[in-house]
């Protein structure tokens, strides 16, 4: 079965998020832990900035949970740069045992799912899962030089600067991981790299249906179903695809890429990047979960698994989506259960 149900329900003790100046002007600005004033982070290159950003996020998450780096058993992480350098270099600086992941923009959910499995099975006590992206380093790698005066098509998305990390732990807290579904790689033949939402929507559809089926739930059982970075067009396509499968996504469905930016910003279809679902989840969704305003949430991070080379050679874009389900637990029950252990 694609869905793994956690028997001991590992806890998500804390999350930490940092975003760039543009994202910090958006509607979720009050939920992020830190908003950068300078997106270079005083580094000489944007690759170094991204590395520093991830390092700050991981350290921030560990600090916020009241832990030290020595308490962390594993660091699950990945990013969009070639050879996931930002994550590996962060792991080098922090001297953490590192499990490097790549699912493009679906990395956050993949990291959370694996962290959950490790803690659930008693393989680790505290695990950090995190990822980030930087607009400028992503532009450098995937698209054109920053100063080139070109126009983007209306379907383009804006890679966010920012990211987030979560601490998954066996110490009781009021948010738990319930189950995780690893997605199938799905390709519906979209080859336009400026239309990633359309390329990833079928993967999100497949994973959500699989998760709901295996958990015996309907979309109404969730306070929020959040996809990673389908953008405006992608989420409309997802709603249509789900309807085709006779599942109606209601008002509780939203997309992190659509939520992060203000409508007035020139970001076309919305935000994208591994850091998109990472920052929105660890900033907005987690704080709502911790307060009990959301009781049950499904995070479905979505990723497009192409490279610049495969795109240039005319290959279509395979999409992937991983889902992780979280639930709010009352603090008193959480403590009691903790004592029972």
């Amino acid at each position: 079965m694609q869905t793994i149900k956690f028997k001991n329900k590992p806890y998500l003790s804390n999350g930490y998020s940092i975003v760039g100046p543009l994202e910090g002007k958006g509607p979720l600005k009050d939920y992020f832990d830190y908003i950068l004033k300078d997106d270079t982070l005083k580094e000489k290159t944007f690759e170094k900035s991204e590395r520093k950003l991830l390092q700050d996020i991981i350290v921030g998450a560990i600090d916020k949970a009241g832990l030290r780096t020595g308490d962390i058993d594993f660091f699950f992480g990945g990013d969009l740069l070639n050879q996931i350098v930002s994550s590996s270099y962060t792991a080098r600086e922090l001297e953490l045992p590192f499990i490097g992941l790549y699912s493009a923009c679906a990395t956050m959910a993949e990291a959370l799912a694996l962290a959950g499995i490790f803690v659930d099975n008693g393989l680790a006590k505290n695990v950090v899962a995190g990822t980030c992206t930087h607009f400028s380093s992503a532009e450098r790698q995937y698209r054109f030089p920053l100063e080139l005066g070109n126009q983007r098509p209306p379907t383009a998305q804006w890679t966010i600067t920012g990211g987030g990390a979560s601490i998954v732990s066996n110490t009781p807290s009021n948010v738990r991981l319930v189950a995780a579904t690893f997605g199938r790689v799905t390709d519906f033949g979209v080859s336009d790299v400026n239309n990633m939402g359309a390329a990833m929507a079928p993967a999100a559809c497949d994973t959500i249906i699989e998760h709901l089926k295996n958990m015996g739930r309907s979309p109404r059982d969730y306070d929020m179903i959040a996809t990673g970075d389908l953008g405006k067009l992608g989420s409309e396509i997802l709603i249509d695809l789900m309807e085709h499968e006779k599942i109606v996504l209601g008002k509780n469905y939203c997309d992190c890429g659509c939520m992060i930016y203000d409508k007035t910003e020139r970001v076309f279809m919305g935000g994208s990047g591994a850091g998109c679902s990472a920052s929105v989840f660890n900033g907005y969704i987690l704080s709502k979960l911790k307060k009990g305003e959301f009781k049950r949430v499904l995070l479905v991070s979505t990723g497009a698994l192409m490279s610049t080379t495969t795109s240039q050679q005319g290959d279509t874009i395979p999409g992937i989506a991983h889902a992780v389900e979280f639930e709010y637990v009352d603090k008193s029950t959480a403590k009691k259960e903790g004592k029972d252990d």
């Binding site: 920053l146 080139l148 209306p154 979209v190 067009l233």
Partner: protein
Amino acid sequence: MDKEKRNVNYNIYVESKIPKTKAWPSLFKAFLVGGIICAIGQGFFDLYSHFFPNLAESEVTSCMLMSIIFLTCFFTGIGIYDVVGAWGGAGSVIPITGFSNSISSPAIEFKKEGIIYGICVKMFTIAGPVIVCGVVGSIICGFIGLFI
């Protein structure tokens, strides 16, 4: 194949969902930006012909081109030209300023990878194809012209 049919149908569906770029506003913006750039070029031309009456027309043209190429590089460097380009579209791409921007922007961008592997290698990533196609095209046209 079933999958192929599904993909074709999906792509048709996606195509129907894509918001279309509005042609008239884009054309107007391109006309405005392109027109202003050309007017600036003409301004330089008139200025040089006025102050240096001894220069031949082709020499004045060269001076004018050098001036606007320099200005584009300057405005690319201080981060203004990309804003103009994102708004004006083809209006800023078609004149020689677009060509200048397409060479100076990667040069700035890849400076961090060093002079040889950064600037020299990457400088023509965008303008390179234009140069190659231009040269090949002119050779072909030259041959055709020879026999007509």
